[in-house]
Symmetry: C3
Subunit: 498 residues, 3 copies
């Protein structure tokens, strides 16, 4: 109310001054955003027309043939019934989880949830193509067959770019985010191909391919896009009471459904429940240590919403690789225990340190929630893999879990551990190098990004509803003095309407 009218005046003032000194950037995306959306969407349609087909579980002709040839007695054997509930949970994490987690800023909630929506909707289409080309292109027909598992993988692939968005939140335009996603999905498909197919790593929940990659990708972009005068937007770079509540919706849906995330594409049978149980335990453990460190760090032991919203999730990130292994229930608790601590410490000390010394501005602190726990998760996976043995897994089970078949039939758990560690490094390298290049591309002055004093503000890219304003008190007082004969209710009426 009072604030609103003040903002209007402030806004005009800023605009004048900005134009005068020539430092006001052009944030008009009326041409670029529609152009990007239309052209890329049309490209998707054309490419889907050329390449994408239903797989044998979702094509009526192929399914009926497949049922006969594979002697499948019941429709319940369709992969849909194994994976669809997990797919929907992952879908909720991508759109509500990531989306609402980024609504914590006081005047950037529309952008947080809205741009997340936009880039995920684009990214999943591009991911179906990119992942299809790398993983399931039929050499005979030249087509890609998609099913429910493809949709899960496409959602996973988007997650990498959404994580990167967390570092950039409030400082880039939607067009830039589309570019981040285009390259992010492309890089993801390549590193995933190298890590999963060439190095033959296991990474069902994506500690390496999703979180470590996405985290370092976002950090590298943000580092290249460093804004020395970002403090000019300081007043908007914070939360208000209700925006923190909206962010908790994101946190909780991520936290609750993370067991589905890590188990969505693990093996049918024992693999899915094991991954779910391990993730469930690690997450629970993270909550307690995040609360403990948060309370220790503040005067009078007060908790900080930033830690509760983010560090409680670190256990899920760190279990992305090891969840499907026989890490044991108490092993999962230990991983969650450590990552809850590390992540909260990151928010307390590392993010401010990085900003000060490395000139790295990381709005959501993805360094502490994705980059580091993802990297740790990769190494935890490597260690657990290296210590796998037939006593615990059984002879058949060891083959089954690590997929020691075909070219990799002779690989030992020890070797596998080494490759897992190498995979983690590949993911980080792709993130850092790819992010650096994408950051340079984003520095061209054509993308409509906001000026340093205009960041974290929905008003740049959204029609924000006007709050009910009032006449500033002083003016109203004067009015009242002039029209003394007016009755109180009428005076109040002017308060309401002005």
């Amino acid at each position: 109310m009072i604030r609103a009218s003040a903002e209007v005046n402030m806004g005009n003032l800023c605009e004048c001054l900005g134009n005068f000194f020539g430092r006001q950037k052009n944030t008009n995306v009326r041409v670029s955003l529609p152009a990007v959306c239309f052209i890329w969407q049309i490209a998707m349609i054309v490419l889907f027309g050329i390449f994408i087909r239903y797989d044998e579980e979702s094509d009526v002709k192929k399914w009926l043939e497949h049922k006969k040839s594979a002697n499948i007695s019941s429709n319940i054997e369709n992969d849909f019934y194994f994976r669809y509930p997990s797919f929907q949970d992952v879908h909720v994490m991508i759109f509500v989880g990531f989306g609402f987690l980024m609504t914590f800023l006081k005047r950037y909630s529309f952008s947080g949830v809205g741009f997340n929506f936009l880039i995920a909707a684009f990214g999943l289409q591009w991911a179906l193509l990119m992942q299809g080309w790398f993983h399931s292109l039929d050499p005979v027909t030249g087509t890609i067959s998609i099913g429910i598992e493809s949709l899960i993988n496409a959602d996973f692939c988007c997650a990498g770019s959404l994580i990167a968005m967390g570092a950039l939140l409030g400082k880039v335009s939607p067009v830039q985010l589309m570019v981040v996603t285009l390259f992010g999905v492309t890089l993801f498909a390549v590193e995933e191909y190298i890590i999963l197919d060439l190095l033959h790593c296991r990474d069902a929940g994506g500690s390496m391919v999703i979180h470590a990659f996405g985290g370092y990708y976002g950090l590298a972009i943000s580092w290249v896009l460093y804004r020395p005068k970002l403090h000019q937007s300081k007043s908007l770079n914070g939360s208000v009471y209700h925006s923190d509540m909206f962010a908790m919706i994101g946190t909780l849906f991520l936290w609750m459904f993370w067991p589905s995330f890590n188990s969505a594409i693990t093996d049918h049978g024992d693999g899915q429940p094991r991954a779910a149980i391990n993730t469930y335990l690690a997450l629970a453990s993270s909550v307690l240590t995040a609360v403990a460190i948060s309370s220790m760090s503040q005067k009078k032991g007060k908790l900080d919403m930033v830690h509760i919203q983010n560090a409680t999730l670190a256990g899920g990130v760190a279990m992305g690789t090891a969840a499907e292994f026989m890490i044991t229930p108490y092993g999962s608790l230990i991983v969650g225990f450590c990552c809850g601590i590390i992540s909260t410490f990151g928010y307390l000390f590392v993010t401010p340190f990085l900003e000060k010394t490395l000139k790295l501005q990381d709005t959501c602190g993805i360094h502490n929630l994705h980059a580091v726990p993802g990297m740790l998760g990769g190494f935890v996976g490597a260690i657990v893999a290296a210590f796998a043995n037939e006593d615990v897994y059984g002879k058949e089970g060891l083959k089954h879990v690590f997929d020691f078949e075909g070219d990799f039939a002779n690989r030992t758990p020890g070797t596998q551990g080494g490759f897992q560690a190498a995979g983690t490094c590949v993911a980080i390298a792709f993130g850092l190098v790819g992010g650096g290049v994408v950051g340079l591309i984003l520095r061209f002055p054509i993308w409509g990004d906001p000026a340093d004093d205009n960041c974290f503000d929905d008003d740049v890219y959204w029609e924000v509803p006007e709050e009910e304003e009032i006449i500033p008190p002083v003016l109203e007082y004067n009015n009242h003095m002039i029209h003394k004969h007016q009755d109180i209710s009428e005076s109040n009426f002017s308060v309401e309407q002005s």
Copy 2:
């Protein structure tokens, strides 16, 4: 705060003036609302006692017999395990999706989510009866057997009336909404019987029977209930920042779970994954074109929350019929592409046009989100059906997908296409005629609807928590002058408490 006290005075003033000029309507529902709830609920209990029984999948005796007679080896073959996850997704769409989508108004969020809750809870009971009578009444025992699929269908049936509520939002009383639901569910069951059973159309996701019917039903009612002086409530017919965020919860849960909506009652096996994939793709495509048109339409390319909240869903509506067909992945993208554009254009141009020329007030713009995309979805389904052939579906598959069995064994895809188109027209006709009649019923002055200057206000039907008020600044100033000896904190205390 300031607004609150102003409102109180405003409210008193309005009430006085209203009473004086005799145009204040009686919005007291203290007798009518409890009466409707109690009597109808008791009627439900009696009718359920007479008609409703568990089906053979949920009755312990029948299930054990059925397992033996049908030689079912595993409990997993129970339909529950095929459909329950989709049912729960649909259930979330009905109560959180539709409910929160209607919370966007600044002071009508309680009613949006609360009345949606009330009428859906009544509607689903009445739907179980109505749909049971028309579709599954056992001629021997005179009873209806219900299972999980019945619950899904009951939720679907409610959706028609909830869509209609979107057009009426803010302008009708809860008693009127109950009447809209009573007739809406009844009309739904009849048109569904004609379309699905007599015309033998396929409409698994309800483009025709749910969206086209519900959309035109609501529009017709709203047209009959035209309020020429609705502009008197203009100040409340808009959103504030946080109400738009609540509405995004509704949007996202609708968007994410729409693949479940369109696949919930499709065939076991290939039918469910295909419907989910097609809907997933159409929705993604809608997001990009809705964003593009929204950005193009505004100065500086700013996005409008109304479009993001609504038009992004148009692809799901339009795939309601064709999702289970072999429309191909790129076909789904094209449908979403077009409907995202059409729906956004609708919000920009058609809704204002309808209001001005047709005297049609459509609060949520259901014309653009349900009526038109639903109608288009019906025709898309007709076209896709007409072009179905054995090359794509296989001989067995064609029978399977279109259910060419029994009386309809000789129907060709071309004929089926014609019947699908006819079904769409039936749905629209039922919506328009039924809505017109129900609108006339609702014009009786007994339903407790608000006056034109009292619309869009929760305060009419809800105990709204008082915001912490303050003394209007002027009065406070005067007080301060009088009691100059009081210290600041005490003065502030009066600010707090008054």
Copy 3:
């Protein structure tokens, strides 16, 4: 804004006065909260290391052996595929449902959702151990095997303590809530062992073991912790518009997923759909009667959000025992009908009465939502069990549903009904006695609970984001007078920044 600055001054004033009169309690939890979190979490890790193992459905070696020995042909027979979707729904109810339901207070939303998060994350670990020791300790290996059903049961077990938290909301410290959970989970495991194992009751949805126990447990604690001067915090013991909306998120996710709650651990096959259908119907019926009574009770028939948020759920609570029985669809409607009325009457008359005469302060009214409907649900279950017969269930079905096997092979339905009633009494007794003892423990002055004038305030335990303040109007006016040369926009700037 104005309120904020007033609060600051008020806060200072209170603090001074409080310190002066020595009634300000020490709410510093900087040592106790981290200590409890760390020590208990480490204890969990140690105990999990000693006791907890994967069960045969989630251990790769055991599953492969089990498949061979039990001749299981498909991975879909793994219990994961029967129960995981229901588990995730229950998980959402525990964290989002209970969490957001407790966000209705105007300045206690952080604590409502945050403390719920903390204690559920601890409680589920402790529950896995306690329930394991009582129900599934392997006498040979001395270990507990956990699977998906264990996770559901652990979530259920937490629910008891979360219900108790509802009575205490706003009046206790997070450390006290951890203690409530530690004892609550312990008591739960014992009473559950007595009721389900020794008395051989059926209670799949926990009317007795969860709701009656949890409700009376919380009420007894609250009674012991009676605060005679709680009215000093009266101004914060209420909702604002948006906090009521957040609470509706909790209500709806509880309401929608309650069918999953009551069916999550019922028998494979017919048991799960029957429990889901019965719960779905009872909940729908509750909504209508809650609305009816709410409307009848208020001037002009206005609805009260408290009733809509809570009493609509009573039908789900009351079906916790009987949902898996053949209660018939209309029987479910009747249960919901009655409980919606009883619960709403409770909010209107019983809670105020209890506070006045019994000195029982029940913030969320758990007496009306959990204690009484849970108790009624227990007796409804007893009655339905007592009237069970072979005509309805079939001979095999009767054994199947009531598990009349082993030691209990000769039990009759009539006897079973008696034991069900006895079980309800056991649950209530455990709640009352256990709660009394825990209440006494919580009265030690070491737990950091707030003073009577400091309740219902997040600021005690959370870093609450500062709202944008303004200079109180009077001061600003004076400022303006002094600096008359300043232009308006600059004056507004001071409004913005101060």
